[in-house]
Amino acid sequence: MRNFDYHVADRVDEAFSIDGTQTMAIAGGTELLNWFRLGIAAPDKVIDIGRIAGLNTIERSGDWLSIGALATLNEIGEHAIVHEHAAVLAEACLAAASPQIRNRATIGGNVLQKTRCAYFRAEGPLPWACNKRVPGSGCSAREGLNERHAIFGWTDACVAVQPSDPLVALAALDAEVEIDGRAGRRRLAVAELHLTQQEAAAAGLDAALAETKLRPGEVIVGYHVPVRKSERSAYVKVRERASYEYALVSAAAVVALQDGLIARAAVALGSVAQKPWRLRTAEAQLVGQPPTRDAVRPILLAGLADARPLAHNGYKVAMAAGAATRAIVEAAA
């Protein structure tokens, strides 16, 4: 690991000099240290935002549940008011990583973790192409081992997925992310924080490199989750071992029932795209249906009809429909 200068910030504005390359922010560091080791990042200066006071609170204020960016995944996952008002978020936090990592990893940094694509996450210099690591070199996963890659939003430049669990829950909950920077604070729908490769390309950005709408110098300071009393939620994570593993596919569901039928539904899928994938057409069609497997699965499967599987990940379509079905049934139970 290359050495760097290190500065402890007392205030958020001390981090506005971060540019994501030469100057980077660290909080928990569970992701950043591995970037440094692999050569994914090699900054000259690291600003520790982990000690900024007041950024780790979890509290309800009116119709919002507010969570500071420095709250750890275990703090969120085991917090009573998160269980009460946003069960899917608590479940997603506790389904992530390991107990030790969850004691360090913050919800601010978690959503900015990078893909687990094995071609990307190797020690540099890479013996193969990766447009995220060496711009213009190509995408080895596009025609290579891509069983864990995207079925939505990808381009030939990059087929990576975003692996965060809490991000999927926040997207289903219609949460907003609060961002601070030189231009002031702003709020953005969490579901719109990240960019698919197609969205990045359409915006004139580098399809492989542009992953979020964060601008240089901007810092995530917290999240705001709307509290809707009648809603219930659940998170389903499908993976190759029962714990401490990334998702093949995950699903977050938030439902409101009226007279035993779905009155409102929100469904977000994880590990199918470079952003949490909301099934908005299916969500509308679920209204009026009973929350049963037989009723919801065909609707969810139809909502995945526009998926574009790669050579080795066609299984993700049926798996995503199954995970979303389970999430709705469990949320309604």
Binding site: M1, R2, N3, F4, D5, Y6, V8, Q22, I26, G28, G29, T30, L33, N34, F36, R37, A42, D44, V46, D48, G50, A97, S98, P99, Q100, I101, N103, R104, A242, S243, Y244
Partner: protein
Amino acid sequence: MATTVNEKAPTASSPITGKSNDLSKAAVTRRSVRMKVNGESVASEVEPRVTLLDYLRDRLQLTGTKKGCNEGACGTCTVLIDGKRMNSCLTLAVQCDGREVTTIEGIGSAEQLHAVQQSFIDHDAFQCGYCTPGQIVSAVACIAEGHATDTASVSEWMSGNICRCAAYPQITAAVLDAAAKSKG
């Protein structure tokens, strides 16, 4: 055991010069760090890139904490920081300024075993032993957190500690037994 280390910055200049991101300046960067390790105060000058794991092993000679994967996947480097279990390989030493760190050496000793250590012996909860320091530290925290309630809960909340000898049934039994005994 705990020592105070003060290193001088190296004077050799970097062979890489003239680039905006050259290492010559960063290479001599040191930060002072003070922490309590197993109850004793230590103060050092460290390069910011030094992990808590390397600091404990190489600078403080506390080699009970093991380096396995060095990427947060195996858990054998687990220590307590302000009482919470964390991977020392994913933590910079400078991030621990002002913190209290407990390693396996602070949990128990050969002369005075911790109840969890005794339980691991009683239940044959290891073979090669390389993961054991991390397992013990993690188990102490798991019990303190209240997660050692049944087999399923222990399996889930000890999942951050990999045992390649696969002594998991014995480890789970040892943790549950120690938890039951700690309740009296």
